[in-house]
Amino acid sequence: MRAEKSILVGGIRGIHGRVATRLAGIADRYGVRLFLRHDGKTVECSSILDVLALALVRGATVGLLAEGPRAESALAAAADIINDQDEA
């Protein structure tokens, strides 16, 4: 199964180390492959360095893509993390 949606980055410091770490955790927990799309590039969330190198700052729009049996729920959980305004 595949699920995809577009999300606004909400955290003040954008997608930094902890957000990227939490995203990798989601992929693990739901047993899915999770990808981020931005600016014509697609990276897999299992690589924290790829994710960081996208340099996603607050307010950027990012495509989020999940592949796997629980893609929908993984997508929702990941979207919450990316969108989380309180993420320090």
């Binding site: 003040i12 770490t21 360095l49 190198a53 700052v57």
Partner: protein
């Protein structure tokens, strides 16, 4: 030529080295030395039949580095959420394909050694990160480097030792410690620190003081002079290191430490108790800190908040003042880690003995300062360099939604200064609202009461602020006109001078008349002799080094509020400081035998 001394069979006297003592306490233990030379990854061409062996060697180092992090993660307490999240992100980096697959690819395709291949992979990552505009994300490369350094160390066969031997007390010796090292220290059986670099305000010094562990810094060549396994005695007060001490001397210090350990165990029971007198009057016991690295110690010793966050360090560490985003990041972590407890951040307190000579444009000013203690410093500096002040205020308010923030203005001496500062605060708040930032309701604004004029005018100030924080170190110096740094007059520095006690009382009374809280930060707040007098005056909060909190809490919980008031009244009736001390010597042992009969 022979000296007469050498003819008898006395053992040679112990050799001693002198460093800078930055965190008091004496400890006798064996040392673990970390030689963190910059790793120069030499290039070796490998014959084809060695390639897979090299790949295995690299994979082994990656695994060992990961195991080390997992072990550290297990040892760290669960309440250190931030620390755990750093470790988790480092674990991910260790597994990252840009590091692992890329390095293995380079080993295989270029027939080179693992160190060289890893260095190549790292420089490719660096190139990618250098192109990032956002400074915060760009600087994450430092983390990647930390992780890679650990792998380099393991590859070279060095550093593959846990920080502390199992169960055995050690003193860590290194050129300097990184912030991440300090995390590992909390987990290990570390009893002291010794570094080649650094001064009183170095990272190691601050963390050691927060943890209450003896430390000596600035001892050149320490990592060459000492070898892992050497026994030393380290005195974190005087800065002296005794090499090869006599066994009986080692035992004596260790026995003393065992007694201190018993006291520490006794005090540990107070870490999780509430801060209140025997009859249930609550007093906030909070911590003075200056860097996020002290937060684990703050949480460990159970403070009720941060009573004083000295915000200068973040300005001194770099060539330029930190930008607003960097400050937001720091303040946010600080507030979130302490929430729901309050955090009092003192705005930039530079000048005096802390120069900001790296600030562009200010060098000339500071060169001309003849009397820096009375010069362009603290709130005056902030009102002069308004952009720096505004940026700090913006960052504070932006971070305010993450916890309970109190903003403290240092060295306010006239109501006009407070009003100017409040105008700037109002402007900043309007700007933030315009830019769409949310700001917490109920951020409190207070002043440091540390200039005698502020004490005299306390009733006027109390009507215009949300809280007072009495800074006794400066208040004593200013009111008695004593420079503590001057050895000829330092003996006149006297916390029990009746003038000082009366000023504290006057400030508390003025604050309470306007229903605002009054706290005290300064060395008096951590001195068991002073604390009963202060508590009796009705202070709402005492702020001190994190490690002292359990001891002061024990004292607090053994006293009744009426007894404390009585002690205070008597102290205020004394005509000089000797009378105060005599009275306390008579009264205090009955008040809290555990504290005063030791």
């Amino acid at each position: 030529m022979t000296c007469p001394d050498q003819q008898d069979n006395r053992p040679p006297p112990a050799r001693a080295l002198q460093g800078i003592g930055v965190s008091p306490g004496i400890v006798a233990a064996t040392v673990v030395v970390f030689k963190r030379r910059t790793v120069r990854a030499g290039w070796h061409h490998l014959p084809p039949d060695h390639i897979e062996h090299e790949v295995d060697r690299f994979a082994g180092a990656i695994k060992a580095a990961g195991d080390e992090l997992l072990l550290l993660r297990e040892k760290l307490a669960d309440d250190l959420a931030d620390a755990l999240s750093i470790i988790d992100s480092h674990l991910l980096m260790l597994k990252d394909k840009m590091i692992v697959e890329r390095t293995i690819g380079i080993i295989r395709h270029k027939n080179v050694n693992a160190e060289w291949a890893l260095a190549q992979a790292l420089s490719e990552i660096k190139e990618r990160f250098d192109r990032i505009d956002d400074s915060y994300i760009r600087e994450r490369f430092t983390d990647i480097k930390h992780v890679a350094d650990r792998v380099f160390g393991l590859l070279s066969g060095r550093e593959h030792q846990p920080f502390a031997g199992e169960g055995q007390a050690v003193i860590l010796v290194a050129n300097d410690f990184s912030p991440e090292d300090t995390l590992r220290m909390q987990a290990g059986n570390v009893h002291g620190f010794l570094t080649e670099k650094g001064g009183v305000t170095s990272h190691t010094a601050i963390v050691a003081r927060a943890l209450g562990l003896p430390a000596v810094v600035g001892l050149e060549h320490a990592t060459s002079l000492l070898t892992t396994g050497d026994a030393i005695i380290l005195d974190g007060g005087s800065g002296q290191i005794v090499l090869d001490p006599a066994p009986e001397e080692m035992r004596r210090v260790q026995e003393e430490n065992r007694c201190d350990g018993l006291l520490a165990d006794e005090l540990a029971r107070y870490i999780h108790l509430s801060s209140e007198t025997a009859d249930g009057v609550a007093v906030r016991l909070s911590a003075n800190i200056e860097t996020l690295a002290e937060l684990p110690a703050v949480l460990h010793f159970g403070s009720d908040g941060i009573g004083l966050f000295r915000s200068e360090l973040d300005y001194f560490n770099n060539r330029r003042p930190p930008n607003e985003e960097q400050l937001v990041a720091i303040y946010q972590q600080l507030l979130a880690a302490m929430s729901p407890h309050p955090v009092t951040v003192r705005t930039l307190d530079v000048g005096g003995d802390k120069f900001l000579n790296r600030f562009p444009g200010n060098k000339a000013w500071l060169d001309r300062e003849r009397n820096p203690a009375l010069g362009l410093r603290s709130i005056r500096f902030s009102l002069y360099e308004r952009e720096i002040f505004r940026s700090q205020l913006r960052a504070l308010f932006r971070a305010s939604v993450h916890g309970r923030l109190r903003i403290l203005l240092p060295l306010v001496s006239a109501p006009a200064e407070l009003r100017q500062a409040k105008e700037i605060v109002a402007e900043v708040l309007a700007e933030l609202a315009e830019n769409g930032y949310s700001v917490a309701q109920g951020v409190e604004l207070g002043i440091m009461v540390e200039v005698p004029s502020a004490v005299v005018m306390a009733d006027v100030f109390a009507a215009e602020v949300d809280f007072f924080a009495i800074g006794t170190n400066d208040l004593i110096q200013f009111s008695l006109a004593i420079d503590r740094g001057n050895q000829y007059v330092a003996h006149l520095y006297e916390p029990f001078h009746p003038a000082v006690l009366r000023m504290i009382r006057q400030t508390v009374e003025a604050g309470h008349a306007c229903n605002i809280s009054v706290s005290l930060c300064g060395e008096m707040a951590s001195d068991p002799l002073c604390v009963p007098v202060l508590l009796g005056m009705g202070l709402d909060e005492l702020s001190m080094r994190p490690a002292v909190v359990p001891r002061i809490r024990r004292l607090l919980r053994h006293c009744r509020s009426d007894e404390l008031r009585q002690i205070s009244r008597q102290a205020l009736q004394c005509g000089d400081s000797d009378q105060v001390r005599d009275m306390l010597a008579r009264q205090l042992p009955a008040l809290c035998p555990k504290e005063f009969y030791q």
